[in-house]
Protein backbone atom coordinates (compact mmCIF):
# COMPACT_ATOMS: atom_id res chain seq x y z
CA UNK A 1 0.00 0.00 0.00
CA UNK A 2 1.37 3.37 -0.92
CA UNK A 3 0.17 6.71 0.44
CA UNK A 4 0.25 10.01 -1.46
CA UNK A 5 0.40 13.61 -0.37
CA UNK A 6 -0.03 16.31 -3.04
CA UNK A 7 0.43 19.97 -2.21
CA UNK A 8 1.36 23.39 -3.64
CA UNK A 9 5.10 23.98 -3.94
CA UNK A 10 5.40 26.36 -0.99
CA UNK A 11 7.75 26.18 1.97
CA UNK A 12 4.78 26.80 4.30
CA UNK A 13 3.64 23.26 3.37
CA UNK A 14 6.70 21.57 4.91
CA UNK A 15 5.14 21.20 8.35
CA UNK A 16 2.14 19.33 6.90
CA UNK A 17 4.57 17.20 4.88
CA UNK A 18 6.31 16.24 8.12
CA UNK A 19 2.96 15.25 9.64
CA UNK A 20 2.19 13.08 6.58
CA UNK A 21 5.54 11.30 6.93
CA UNK A 22 5.02 10.73 10.66
CA UNK A 23 1.44 9.48 10.17
CA UNK A 24 2.82 6.65 8.06
CA UNK A 25 5.20 5.55 10.77
CA UNK A 26 8.35 6.83 9.09
CA UNK A 27 11.11 8.09 11.34
CA UNK A 28 12.74 11.48 11.78
CA UNK A 29 15.58 10.74 9.36
CA UNK A 30 13.08 10.07 6.56
CA UNK A 31 11.25 13.30 7.43
CA UNK A 32 14.55 15.16 7.24
CA UNK A 33 15.51 13.62 3.88
CA UNK A 34 12.11 14.21 2.27
CA UNK A 35 12.09 17.81 3.51
CA UNK A 36 15.48 18.36 1.86
CA UNK A 37 14.28 16.86 -1.44
CA UNK A 38 11.07 18.92 -1.46
CA UNK A 39 12.86 22.13 -0.44
CA UNK A 40 15.25 21.64 -3.37
CA UNK A 41 12.33 21.23 -5.77
CA UNK A 42 10.61 24.37 -4.44
CA UNK A 43 13.68 26.62 -4.37
CA UNK A 44 15.73 25.43 -7.33
CA UNK A 45 13.32 23.78 -9.74
CA UNK A 46 10.53 26.36 -9.75
CA UNK A 47 7.84 23.71 -9.23
CA UNK A 48 4.19 24.61 -8.70
CA UNK A 49 3.04 21.26 -7.41
CA UNK A 50 4.70 18.51 -5.37
CA UNK A 51 3.60 14.94 -4.82
CA UNK A 52 5.21 12.63 -2.27
CA UNK A 53 4.42 8.93 -2.34
CA UNK A 54 5.59 6.57 0.39
CA UNK A 55 5.57 2.81 0.67
CA UNK A 56 6.58 1.99 4.24
CA UNK A 57 6.36 -1.77 3.65
CA UNK A 58 9.04 -1.79 0.95
CA UNK A 59 10.99 1.15 2.39
CA UNK A 60 10.65 3.31 -0.71
CA UNK A 61 9.48 6.81 -1.44
CA UNK A 62 9.08 9.01 -4.47
CA UNK A 63 9.11 12.80 -4.76
CA UNK A 64 7.55 14.28 -7.91
CA UNK A 65 7.53 17.95 -8.93
CA UNK A 66 6.43 19.76 -12.05
CA UNK A 67 9.24 22.31 -12.14
CA UNK A 68 11.90 22.64 -14.80
CA UNK A 69 14.18 19.67 -15.32
CA UNK A 70 16.39 19.59 -12.26
CA UNK A 71 18.36 16.70 -10.86
CA UNK A 72 19.71 17.49 -7.38
CA UNK A 73 21.64 14.21 -7.41
CA UNK A 74 24.02 15.66 -10.00
CA UNK A 75 25.38 18.08 -7.41
CA UNK A 76 28.46 16.64 -5.76
CA UNK A 77 27.92 16.33 -2.02
CA UNK A 78 30.21 18.80 -0.31
CA UNK A 79 32.40 17.70 2.60
CA UNK A 80 30.83 17.45 6.04
CA UNK A 81 32.29 19.15 9.09
CA UNK A 82 32.95 22.44 7.30
CA UNK A 83 31.54 25.73 8.52
CA UNK A 84 29.75 27.09 5.47
CA UNK A 85 26.42 28.75 4.94
CA UNK A 86 24.85 26.26 2.57
CA UNK A 87 25.29 23.07 0.61
CA UNK A 88 24.35 20.69 3.42
CA UNK A 89 21.03 19.61 1.91
CA UNK A 90 22.35 17.28 -0.81
CA UNK A 91 24.88 15.79 1.60
CA UNK A 92 22.08 15.00 4.05
CA UNK A 93 19.98 13.41 1.27
CA UNK A 94 22.86 11.06 0.38
CA UNK A 95 23.40 10.16 4.05
CA UNK A 96 19.75 9.45 4.81
CA UNK A 97 18.73 7.58 1.64
CA UNK A 98 20.24 4.94 -0.61
CA UNK A 99 19.60 3.81 -4.19
CA UNK A 100 18.64 7.32 -5.19
CA UNK A 101 17.35 7.55 -8.76
CA UNK A 102 16.24 10.54 -10.81
CA UNK A 103 14.11 10.60 -13.92
CA UNK A 104 12.18 13.16 -15.98
CA UNK A 105 8.83 12.06 -17.35
CA UNK A 106 5.99 14.03 -18.96
CA UNK A 107 7.11 17.33 -17.47
CA UNK A 108 7.68 15.96 -13.99
CA UNK A 109 10.91 15.36 -12.07
CA UNK A 110 10.86 12.16 -10.06
CA UNK A 111 13.28 11.02 -7.40
CA UNK A 112 13.02 7.57 -5.92
CA UNK A 113 14.78 6.74 -2.69
CA UNK A 114 15.09 3.76 -0.43
CA UNK A 115 15.19 4.12 3.32
CA UNK A 116 15.14 1.93 6.37
CA UNK A 117 18.49 0.37 7.07
CA UNK A 118 20.19 3.67 7.68
CA UNK A 119 17.59 4.67 10.29
CA UNK A 120 19.02 4.94 13.76
Amino acid sequence: MTAKHTFPARTAELEALGEFVQQHGLGPLVELGVTELVTNAILHGGARCIRVRVDPASGQLWVYDNGQGFNPLEALPRPMGELREGGYGVAIIHKVFRNLRYCRRRGWNCIRARFGEVEK
Binding site: T11, A12, L14, E15, G18, P28, L29, E31, L32, T35, E36, T39, I42, L43, M80, G81, E82, L83, R84, E85, G86, Y88, G89, A91, I92, K95, V96
Partner: protein, 101 residues
Amino acid sequence: MNVEMLTNTQARLVLQGRLDVETAPKLRLILLESRNQGVKDFLLEMSQIEFMDSAGLAAMVSGLKQSKAEGGSLKVEAPSEAVRRVLELTLLDRVIGIVEG
Protein backbone atom coordinates in the same frame (compact mmCIF):
# COMPACT_ATOMS: atom_id res chain seq x y z
CA MET B 1 11.86 33.15 19.57
CA ASN B 2 12.64 34.85 22.80
CA VAL B 3 15.78 36.95 23.38
CA GLU B 4 17.10 37.15 26.92
CA MET B 5 19.99 39.57 27.55
CA LEU B 6 22.55 38.01 29.91
CA THR B 7 24.88 41.04 29.87
CA ASN B 8 25.20 44.02 27.50
CA THR B 9 27.04 41.85 24.98
CA GLN B 10 25.71 38.35 25.72
CA ALA B 11 22.30 37.07 24.71
CA ARG B 12 20.42 33.81 25.10
CA LEU B 13 17.88 32.98 22.41
CA VAL B 14 15.23 30.42 23.26
CA LEU B 15 14.11 28.73 20.04
CA GLN B 16 10.98 26.60 19.71
CA GLY B 17 9.13 24.54 17.11
CA ARG B 18 10.51 24.14 13.62
CA LEU B 19 13.73 25.58 12.22
CA ASP B 20 13.48 25.02 8.45
CA VAL B 21 13.62 27.04 5.24
CA GLU B 22 10.33 28.69 6.23
CA THR B 23 11.42 29.88 9.68
CA ALA B 24 15.22 30.18 9.33
CA PRO B 25 14.99 33.79 7.99
CA LYS B 26 13.48 34.84 11.35
CA LEU B 27 16.52 33.45 13.17
CA ARG B 28 18.88 35.21 10.75
CA LEU B 29 17.03 38.50 11.34
CA ILE B 30 17.07 38.22 15.14
CA LEU B 31 20.80 37.41 15.11
CA LEU B 32 21.46 40.39 12.83
CA GLU B 33 19.37 42.79 14.92
CA SER B 34 21.03 41.59 18.12
CA ARG B 35 24.50 42.05 16.63
CA ASN B 36 23.50 45.55 15.53
CA GLN B 37 22.53 46.24 19.15
CA GLY B 38 26.00 45.20 20.34
CA VAL B 39 25.54 41.51 21.15
CA LYS B 40 28.76 39.55 20.53
CA ASP B 41 28.17 36.22 22.26
CA PHE B 42 25.09 34.11 21.57
CA LEU B 43 23.70 31.09 23.34
CA LEU B 44 20.96 29.33 21.33
CA GLU B 45 18.76 27.30 23.66
CA MET B 46 17.42 24.56 21.36
CA SER B 47 15.83 21.96 23.64
CA GLN B 48 12.37 22.73 22.24
CA ILE B 49 13.22 22.50 18.53
CA GLU B 50 11.01 19.76 17.10
CA PHE B 51 12.50 19.75 13.60
CA MET B 52 15.58 21.27 11.99
CA ASP B 53 16.85 20.90 8.40
CA SER B 54 19.84 22.14 6.41
CA ALA B 55 18.31 25.63 6.04
CA GLY B 56 18.05 25.96 9.81
CA LEU B 57 21.59 24.72 10.14
CA ALA B 58 22.80 27.23 7.53
CA ALA B 59 21.19 30.09 9.50
CA MET B 60 23.01 28.95 12.64
CA VAL B 61 26.34 28.65 10.84
CA SER B 62 25.86 32.07 9.28
CA GLY B 63 25.30 33.56 12.74
CA LEU B 64 28.33 31.75 14.10
CA LYS B 65 30.60 32.99 11.30
CA GLN B 66 29.41 36.58 11.60
CA SER B 67 29.83 36.55 15.38
CA LYS B 68 33.33 35.09 15.09
CA ALA B 69 34.25 37.72 12.50
CA GLU B 70 33.30 40.36 15.05
CA GLY B 71 35.27 38.69 17.86
CA GLY B 72 32.25 37.00 19.42
CA SER B 73 30.86 33.49 19.67
CA LEU B 74 27.77 31.36 19.16
CA LYS B 75 27.03 28.16 21.06
CA VAL B 76 24.12 25.75 21.18
CA GLU B 77 22.60 24.98 24.56
CA ALA B 78 20.77 21.71 25.27
CA PRO B 79 20.11 20.65 21.65
CA SER B 80 17.02 18.51 21.12
CA GLU B 81 17.26 15.16 19.31
CA ALA B 82 16.23 16.89 16.06
CA VAL B 83 19.08 19.40 16.35
CA ARG B 84 21.64 16.84 17.48
CA ARG B 85 20.71 14.58 14.53
CA VAL B 86 21.50 17.26 11.93
CA LEU B 87 24.69 18.37 13.71
CA GLU B 88 25.91 14.77 13.83
CA LEU B 89 24.97 13.95 10.21
CA THR B 90 26.91 16.97 8.97
CA LEU B 91 29.74 16.44 11.50
CA LEU B 92 29.22 19.98 12.72
CA ASP B 93 28.85 18.70 16.28
CA ARG B 94 32.67 18.68 16.20
CA VAL B 95 32.84 22.32 15.15
CA ILE B 96 29.94 24.10 16.84
CA GLY B 97 30.20 24.54 20.60
CA ILE B 98 27.53 22.64 22.53
CA VAL B 99 26.58 23.45 26.10
CA GLU B 100 24.66 20.60 27.70
CA GLY B 101 21.55 21.66 29.58
